[in-house]
Amino acid sequence: MELLNNLSLGFSVALSIKNVLYCFLGALIGTLVGVLPGLGPVATIALLLPLTYSLEPTTALIMLAGIYYGAQYGGSTTAILVNLPGETSSVVTAIDGYQMARRGRAGTALLTAALGSFFAGTVGTLLIAAFAPPLAKLALTFGPAEYFALMVVGLIAAVVMARGSIIKAIAMVILGLLLGLVGTDVQSGAERLTLGIPELMDGIDFVVVAMGLFGIAEIIKNLESREEQREVFTGGKQKLKLWNFTREDFRLAWPATLRGTALGSALGILPGGGAVLGSFASYMLEKKIARDPSRFGNGAIEGVAGPESANNAGAQTSFIPMLTLGLPANAIMAIMVGALTIHNIQPGPQIMSSNPSLFWGLIASMWVGNLLLVILNLPLIGIWVKLLSVKYRILYPAILAICAIGVYSVSNSTFLVLLMAVFGVLGYAFSKLGCEPAPLLLGFVLGPMMEEYLRRALTLSRGDPTVFVTRPLSAALLAVAVVMLVAMMAPMWARRREEAFQED
């Protein structure tokens, strides 16, 4: 069977000592990042990107992926123990997980989250292995028009997923696309939008944008509010009881895990998806079908099992569009694309055939990483809890220093550090103005590719723009984008109308 052959190739790569080591390292750093406030996975991965230049591409990607799901895991730990979701995807976990902890059942909640995540991770890995090859085969038939349409779908999806105003998100995407064009035009060699600065001739480095918007701006935002008092619930003074898992718990948790996994996997594949959407959807589903919905918000175990499985499944399956189509579904996948490009690997359907050991090795390593997280982190929970007591005023100068050195190390240039400062200020301004930075980052990554495909498509059609709607696949993709936009705009109009009526 081909699937088994592919997976065994993957495991032979993923289980090499070096790759297991880096996978572990990535998962560990990710958990750390997820636990500590003020440094998200996007900034961390961007930060570590330059340090992976010297690694083999497979190893580098394995480590970066480890950070992603490790952060997911760490985020839920803090959500449960201190009601402080480390990542957006664990916001809903905090609702019931924290209540469980307050009732002295922190151990049960953590174990549920860990086992649910592991189960979902396993299913997610299998799904990627099963669905990626046919999707990649389909993608190989794509021409430039289809690719352009696909990118439009990806960008619109990013817009739809962004919090707040859709129009602002679209403007952010366009701004990102423009920033992505800074540098030398590949076709004509003309310098574009560089302000005459020689350092910008090769374009703005991806790491600089990500670190500025997601690193520095984040710190400034965190410092705005006073340090909050955190209460750690590990079940009173006694030790954390992990194996306090009753038959009743199991009876309630496993169907929720199954549902969460299914929901998370499905929503993760969608462009613009990822871990966040699945966990919210799963929580709502569990609450809706529960026999006694009033238990939710008061420590219902399904409210932990469902969303936790969903976010891990989604984190896993969101790799599918990136690996098969070269289309990043969220900011983290955008960084992965950046990582691949740095190692001279063009993301897209050809990876699977031209670089099978990278492709399958990465997939297998996700399963290995999930296993490592369960085995190693449950005993390490005590350490993570201790880390939570580190004060932010101690933490942030260190984060700032690491950001500066990390960006400097990209090309040993202090100019990049200055540029990062500019993006930090910009990022803070964006957050004050209610503009999400994630769509900008996606636009930034896709900008050059999008121009390239637009050029090729229009050259092939001799300048006829109808090529995008006359080719069936491209038309279908664009239709998807339009439907998504309209679906999002519709409630907005409805609300606007309501407001108008109220003023009468």
């Binding site: 403007a171 500066a404 200055l418 050259t459």
Partner: protein, 148 residues
């Protein structure tokens, strides 16, 4: 119609970026759709950005968000200054001293400034970062002040 201040500023910002890009791209050849020049896509995007900027400026926001702009000048300025100082001082002072300065400046972001804590923290961070990045990861950066 009531104009929302935050949206007005956001819209103006987007439009300003659009105009800036348009000006910067003004000497690039546009070409035709079938044979695009370097200026084609940037121009299309600039016009789109200006258009959406105007649209943003005149939309209202659902109630409940931040009504007023509160800018935390203290962290904003001290962190930006610390970052800029890092870039300026690194080639002159080397990484150890630069990190000391950077940490001390960044600590101003919080109102309760403690000299003792800052001193201890700065030394720790400078030493650790220098060790990890310079010796551990082999990042090329000057360690000591440049002489002469």
């Amino acid at each position: 119609m009531k104009i929302d201040r935050i949206n007005l500023i956001s819209g103006a910002m987007f439009a300003a970026f659009g105009v800036l890009a348009l000006v910067l791209a003004s000497d690039l050849p546009t070409g035709r759709a079938a044979n695009m020049g370097a200026g084609y896509f940037p121009r299309v995007l600039s016009f789109l950005l200006i258009g959406f900027g105007v649209l943003v400026a005149f939309t209202t926001r659902p109630p409940g968000g931040d009504e007023e702009l509160h800018i935390a000048w203290r962290p904003l300025i001290s962190l930006t200054l610390a970052t800029v100082l890092f870039a300026v001082l690194l080639p002159l002072l080397g990484v150890l001293l630069t990190l000391l300065v950077m940490c001390a400046v960044s600590r101003v972001a919080r109102p309760e400034y403690s000299w003792r804590e800052t001193a201890v923290l700065s030394v720790c961070i400078a030493l650790l970062c220098a060790l990890i990045f310079h010796y551990g990861l082999g990042v090329q950066m000057p360690m000591w002040p440049a002489l002469g």
